[in-house]
């Protein structure tokens, strides 16, 4: 089986989806001729032509808004937003239109749209090339939000997202793009949405993460294992709709929860997860749920490594939570 990094796996997923369904097309800034600024769509225009791999003008509202129109006609556009930080000009189309079209037409129309976008820190991108805006979309009823952590999941979840009949935000951890390689089948396959994965079984603390921070949570778990603290690490994979069962079951077992994400803490998805678990597993909780997140500031550049909730910040949170 070929080894692929995240960029190659997503590229392979797009290729597979476009081969199996003529209604699938890719559009965005610099996705065609250049193959995307991260080269995720490299080679697609050669294979599928400029009619299906479309270089668009510089307008996120156009990229998302016209894709909604194509989706209403029955096509399955995959729009790329060059950086998640630049999704805001298309925000109105996502929250006012894509998210509500099925509801406001009682299902007569729906929007099978996927919006792919690289998110998060790790490339010294400063405040406009590092953001993690997932919470804004999770708060918007009608959208699904996916965030894979590894190449295998990324390809399977992307194919599933493209087949899904509702709009899906697909956040790609740019920090992982070329950092991890693993076996990924050439042919299309799919991984169901809304299924979390326990990537490390443990008894004492549940640590939830996704995307790039999953690796930090994992290495922190390995680290504290040396101190005899046994951490269960959960990779959410799909952020919304959430696989709450897996999460609650884990916390019912461990009685302790640490949530990790890059986005600022306040009103981030971590707060929602803490609230949900506290509501449902209150009597099982032996320590206050903890959040290890980006600080409540814009994303900095020089000190990026101290802004991100990396292992060095997760470790003490796990220890304190375990020892509470």
């Amino acid at each position: 089986m070929p080894q692929m990094n995240l960029v190659q796996a997503i590229n392979s997923g797009l290729r597979g989806a476009m081969r199996e369904n003529d209604d699938v097309l890719v559009m965005g800034e610099d996705v065609g001729r250049l193959g995307g600024v991260f080269r995720v769509t490299q080679g697609l225009q050669e294979e599928f032509g400029a009619e299906r791999v479309i270089d668009t003008p510089l307008s996120e509202s156009g990229i998302i808004g016209t894709a909604i129109g194509m989706a209403l006609h029955g096509m399955r556009p995959v729009s790329e937003i060059q950086f998640a930080d630049f999704i805001y000009p298309g925000f109105d189309q996502l929250v006012s239109e894509a998210a509500k079209y099925r509801y406001r037409t009682r299902g007569e129309f729906h929007v099978p749209l996927v919006v792919r976008t690289p998110y998060g820190g790790g490339i010294r991108g400063g405040q406009y090339h590092s953001q993690s805006p997932e919470a804004l979309f999770i708060h918007t009823a009608g959208l699904k939000v996916v965030c894979p952590s590894n190449p295998y999941d990324a390809k399977g979840l992307l194919l599933e997202a493209i087949r899904d009949d509702d709009p899906v935000l697909f956040f790609e951890p740019k920090r992982v793009y070329r950092a991890v390689k693993m076996d990924v089948p050439e042919e299309p396959y799919s991984i169901p949405l809304s299924e979390a994965k326990i990537v490390r079984a443990g008894e004492q603390v549940t640590c939830v993460a996704w995307g790039a921070m999953l690796y930090e949570a994992f290495s922190a778990a390995e680290e504290v294992a040396k101190q005899g603290i046994d951490v269960e690490v959960v990779d959410l994979r799909t952020l919304w709709p959430l696989d709450l069962e897996t999460l609650v079951t884990s916390v019912e077992k461990t009685g302790r929860l640490v949530v990790v994400h890059e986005a600022p803490q306040t009103c981030g998805f971590g707060g929602e997860l803490v609230a949900l678990v506290t509501e449902r597993a209150f009597l099982h909780l032996e320590a206050p749920p903890r959040r290890v997140t980006g600080w409540d500031t814009p994303f900095p550049q020089t000190h990026e490594q101290e802004y991100l909730p990396l292992a060095h910040r997760i470790i003490p949170a796990l220890v304190e939570t375990a020892r509470y």
Binding site: L25, E51, T56, P57, S59, S61, G62, I64, G65, T66, A67, I68, G69, M70, A71, L72, H73, G74, M75, P77, P89, D92, Q93, S96, E97, K100, Y101, R102, Y103, R104, T105, R106, G107, E108, F109, H110, A141, G142, K144, D164, D165, D166, S194, P241, L242, L244, E245
Partner: protein
Amino acid sequence: MHIIREDGSLDPSLDPGLSIDRVVSLYKAMIRTRVVDDQLERLQRQGRIAFHVGSLGEEAAIIGSAAALRDQDWIVPCYREVGALLWRDYPLQRYVDHMFGNADDPVVGRQMPDHTFSREHRYLSVSAPIGTQLPHAVGLAWAAKKRGLGECVGVFFGDGATSSNDFHSAMNFAAVYQTPTVFLCRNNGYAISLPTARQTATRTLAEKAGAYGMPALRVDGNDVLAVWQAVREAAKRAYDGGGPTFVELMTYRLGGHSTSDDPRIYRSKEEVESWRRADPLVRLRKHLEQRDVWDHDLEADWRAACKAELKECVRRAEEKPAPELREMFTDVYKDQPRHLAEQESRCLGGPRAAEEEDHD
């Protein structure tokens, strides 16, 4: 551009040659829309419906445009164009049920009144945010083109919408990708209280098309034949692969912006009066009478018939129950996720709001 002159006579050089029956059917549709508007406004004032946004004075622009498109073409509405939907034989009862948000409302009370849609009639969904429908119309047309279908898309919007973000991206994408889209700009003089002259520094809205390399037409939107002619020309260009066209329909909003508005605050009686004299119905009626196909009795009978039809629909609509509560929790996604199933049962199993809580 005029085809029917003020006095009702036809400029023979411009006559698009519609059969007289067709012209009569246009007139009858315009009257029907007018009657429906009048009645719904009454119902709103009586507190029987929550809201209405009408098309008083814009019937020629709306129905003339709809008539110039073919059945396979899509209509993407703003919110004043139910006349175009009715022209496509959308059942009046369904519309009235929607206005009451009752159990037979196609959107089961999830939207405000006048937020219609119908896949069967190739009519997308009205949404309140201004301009958001414009990129949809471009994408829809783009998809039709990619799929090799002969469809074109007519999209309605107002003068105010030309200032919206989405107008800019829609116009640009349509021109760059040469999508078969007809931009139907109802320049009715106002965006709520803001006159078009202060919405933009250009003399006309048609000029805006130039910024995108798109051809434009500008016609008297109160002259149904001129509207039909211009929109048909634009649609032809679209079918023939000639790409998008911007059509400015010069008209006037004779009524308030909606039933929530009081236009007397921001415009003069005189201004409104002068436009009443340009009422598209009056002019077309003169024309039909000159051609001896219409008279006072036919007018009276038709208006009575439209009114009776509406009143019967209202009677039925008011007898129907409200939509079931569980309708609030479906169609957020194709399949109801667990969290919504839980919320639904919590809601259905819980207490109901006190009646007086109901701000009707």
